[in-house]
Structures are given as structure tokens and as C-alpha cells.
């Protein structure tokens, strides 16, 4: 099982590096969104409200995640890939997709944070904890959105459906992340965020277990 997952992840990465347009497309998306926000707010970094700075960053990450992860299931329209998939077990497929999307989100989130901090200024007090919240966020987004992308890909207008289905589900994760990152932003004592981190980890665990249980049903069609 583990070997299968590793092989599938390697396949996805190799595929991605070969057709670089997807990854570079997402990075460009992040850059452009950040630049649009910069132009719209037209402020020097220290004039922007901390809450606005934080929320804007997470909204950008959220939309980036939705776009990037929606693609992970639409690629399988190619007949060649379908054949490979019939050989693997559904559990392996979903776990490998979640792992790949997590990696993708980590790359995008960290690059995004770097660019965001440079262009919009960096008022973060506790950078270590902020980075932790970004990592947790990337994992959380990836795990929920991969499952939702799988559900949406089976339907007709999957792009709109992806957005509609994912927004309500992502809200608990988003609320937790906003609290943690705001605490890190203000430089509060690290123990304040423990509740939220535990809740986030619990949500991630629930999502992973559910995805593993439910995905085989999804795959049968």
C-alpha cells in the first residue's frame, strides 16, 4: 500500500514537472492576485490594518487552493491515465492525491507568503508560529478540497460546483486558521492558540478518515 502511494505521488510530481504550465500557472495566479490586491489597497505596508492584511492573505490562499486542487481530478480525462488508475486501489489514489496536493499547497503557500510579505509588508510578530499556521492551513485545505474536487469532478459544471461545495465546508478550518494566524501576527503567547491547533488537527484527522472511507464509493463510477 505504501509503495503504491509513493509510486503514485512520484508519478504526479513527474507529470507536473514535465508539463510545467500547471504549476507555473498557479504561481502566476498567486502573484497576480497579490499584485491586484496591492494596487487596490494602494497603501504602504504599515498603514494596512493587521486584520485586513491577515484575512486578505488567507482569502488569496483559499482561492489559489481551490483552483489548484480542482485540477487534480480533471486531468484524468486522458485515457492513458485512466488505465493506470484501474491498476491501483482507490485508497491509494486518494491518499496519493491528498499528499500531492498538500505538497503543492505548501509550495504555493510559502511562495505566496514570501511574495505577500515583500509586496504588502510584513507585520508578523511571531514568524515561526505564522509559518506553522500556514503549514496547517495548507494541509487542511488540501485534504478537504481534494475530496470535494473528487465529488465535483463527477458532475456536470464542476468548476462552479467545486466553489459552491467547498466554501461552506472550508469555513470551520478557515475560522481556526484565522485565529491562529492572528495570534501569531500579534505575537501573543503561543499557548493561546493550542485549542485551535488541536481542533484543526482533529478536523484534518476526520477529513482524512472520511476521505479514505468514502472515496472508494466515488471511484466505482
Amino acid at each position: 500500500m505504501l509503495k503504491e502511494i509513493k509510486a503514485l505521488i512520484e508519478k504526479e510530481i513527474r507529470l507536473e514537472l514535465r508539463q510545467k504550465y500547471a504549476l507555473s500557472g498557479m504561481i502566476l495566479y498567486v502573484f497576480s492576485t497579490i499584485y491586484v490586491c496591492y494596487l487596490s489597497f494602494r497603501l504602504k505596508a504599515n498603514e494596512m490594518d493587521k486584520i485586513t492584511w491577515n484575512t486578505l492573505f488567507w482569502i488569496i490562499l483559499l482561492f489559489t487552493a481551490m483552483n489548484a486542487i480542482a485540477k487534480s481530478f480533471t486531468q484524468e480525462r486522458f485515457g492513458r491515465l485512466l488505465y493506470q488508475y484501474t491498476l491501483a486501489s482507490p485508497v491509494g489514489i486518494i491518499l496519493s492525491k491528498i499528499a500531492y496536493n498538500t505538497l503543492l499547497m505548501l509550495v504555493l503557500a510559502l511562495i505566496g507568503f514570501g511574495v505577500y510579505a515583500i509586496i504588502m509588508g510584513n507585520p508578523v510578530e511571531d514568524i515561526g508560529y505564522y509559518l506553522l499556521s500556514i503549514v496547517l492551513g495548507a494541509v487542511g485545505f488540501a485534504s478537504t478540497l481534494t475530496m470535494v474536487a473528487g465529488i465535483a469532478s463527477k458532475a456536470e459544471n464542476s468548476a462552479t460546483l467545486m466553489a459552491i461545495l467547498s466554501f461552506p465546508i472550508i469555513i470551520p478550518i478557515l475560522i481556526m486558521l484565522l485565529k491562529i494566524s492572528k495570534n501569531a501576527l500579534d505575537g501573543l503567547d503561543r499557548s493561546n492558540s493550542l485549542d485551535e491547533i488541536l481542533t484543526l488537527l482533529a478536523i484534518d484527522a476526520i477529513v482524512l478518515v472520511l476521505s479514505v472511507i468514502l472515496f472508494p464509493f466515488l471511484w466505482r463510477s
Binding site: 475530496m147 465529488i151 458532475a155 459552491i164 461552506p168 470551520p172 472520511l210 464509493f217 466515488l218
Partner: protein, 221 residues
């Protein structure tokens, strides 16, 4: 009589609630005054919604286990009735809030949880609408139902305990505490919950039977 007991129960209890809910004595509370009687109407909407949506999820699980279309019809109709109760609950809560808290909508954890829950089920309806194939529709929507509810549960149960709230009984609000312990409101409140829940089940039961008849009609023609 075995199948219909809950219908008689709902009529009797709701009749009792309508009469005694207004003629009965309630404790005198500041801020709430007579609107405390809303307890018999607004709060049972949420209990009704929870029970209907739980039955909907249970039917989704049963569908995935047995692939019997009857379970899918049931889960869809219970979800519809749950949404109806949720919408009415939010509207009645909004009206009540306008007169006691001064605003139609506030930044309260329970309100946010209710709104998100409703958004999830609206997305469920749209998901169902975007399929043409019956089997696919049933399977994908069952998966989404289970997934979304599993994520909704931490949102509705954990978050209200963490934050402050305007709602009576939460976040250090004295509100309904004397009413909780006093006998006078409980004797109407408990039958009200049971009555409204039974009414919800009755309405859903009618819709399910109607849907089944329509399906048989379609198959015969």
C-alpha cells in the same frame, strides 16, 4: 396506528403548545418580556432540523451500504425538510433578534453555524440538480452528505463552547437560566420540541410517499 402514531402525537402536542403556550404563565424577564414564549416555536425548529438532517445522513449511509434507491429518496427528502426547518428557524430567530437584540443579524457563533449549515445543504440541493444519471446522483450526493455533516459537527458543537455569544445561556448570558430550572416553561417546551419534530417527520413522510408514487408512475409509462 403503528405507522401513524407520531402524526397523532404531533397534532395533540402542537395543539397543546398553541393553547397553553400563550395562556400559560412564564417568568418575567428583562429584555425578553413576553417574547420568551418564542422558546416554544423558534428553538424547536433547530431540534427539528437536527433530527431531520441526522436521519438524512443515516439514510445516506444506508444507501452507500445497500444501493437501494429508496434510501436515496429518503435522504433527499429528509434533507429538504431539514432545510425548510432551518430556513424558518433562521427567519424566526432574525425576527426575534430584531426586537430583543436590536439587529436582524449579529456576529454570533450560533448564527454563523446555522448559516454555514444551511449553505452546505443548499449546495447539496444544487449538487443533486446537476446530475442526469439517477445512480450517480444518489451516490455522489450521499457521499457529500456524509462528508459535509462530519465537518459540520465540530463547527456547531465545538465553536459555540469556545466563543462569547448573545444567545441566552451561552457566553455568560443569564438569559434563559431561570427558565431552564423553572417548571413553568419546561412543561410546554418539551412537548413543543416533540410536536414540531413529529410534524417534520410527517411532512417528510408524505413527500417520500409522493416521490415513490411518482417514480412508479414513471416506470409504468
Amino acid at each position: 396506528m403503528k405507522k401513524n402514531w407520531y402524526k397523532y402525537l404531533s397534532v395533540i402536542f402542537l395543539g397543546y403548545v398553541i393553547i397553553w403556550g400563550f395562556l400559560g404563565h412564564i417568568p418575567r424577564q428583562p429584555v425578553l418580556h413576553e417574547t420568551a414564549r418564542n422558546l416554544y416555536f423558534h428553538v424547536p425548529m433547530w431540534f427539528g432540523m437536527f433530527s431531520l438532517l441526522s436521519v438524512s445522513v443515516w439514510n445516506s449511509v444506508q444507501y452507500l451500504r445497500t444501493s437501494n434507491m429508496l434510501y436515496d429518496t429518503k435522504s433527499a427528502e429528509y434533507a429538504n425538510s431539514g432545510i425548510l426547518f432551518g430556513i424558518v428557524g433562521i427567519m424566526t430567530g432574525s425576527i426575534w433578534a430584531r426586537y430583543t437584540w436590536g439587529a436582524w443579524w449579529t456576529n454570533d457563533v450560533k448564527l454563523n453555524g446555522a448559516a454555514v449549515g444551511l449553505l452546505i445543504y443548499f449546495a447539496y440541493i444544487i449538487l443533486r440538480g446537476s446530475f442526469n444519471d439517477e445512480q450517480q446522483k444518489a451516490r455522489i450526493s450521499s457521499i457529500y452528505n456524509i462528508f459535509a455533516v462530519a465537518l459540520l459537527i465540530p463547527l456547531l458543537i465545538v465553536l459555540p463552547r469556545i466563543g462569547d455569544s448573545l444567545h441566552p445561556g451561552n457566553g455568560g448570558n443569564p438569559g434563559f437560566k431561570p427558565m431552564d430550572t423553572q417548571h413553568t416553561m419546561r412543561i410546554v417546551f418539551y412537548p413543543a420540541c416533540i410536536g414540531w419534530i413529529c410534524l417534520g417527520f410527517w411532512i417528510t413522510n408524505l413527500r417520500i410517499r409522493l416521490k415513490n408514487l411518482e417514480q412508479i408512475h414513471q416506470e409504468n409509462n
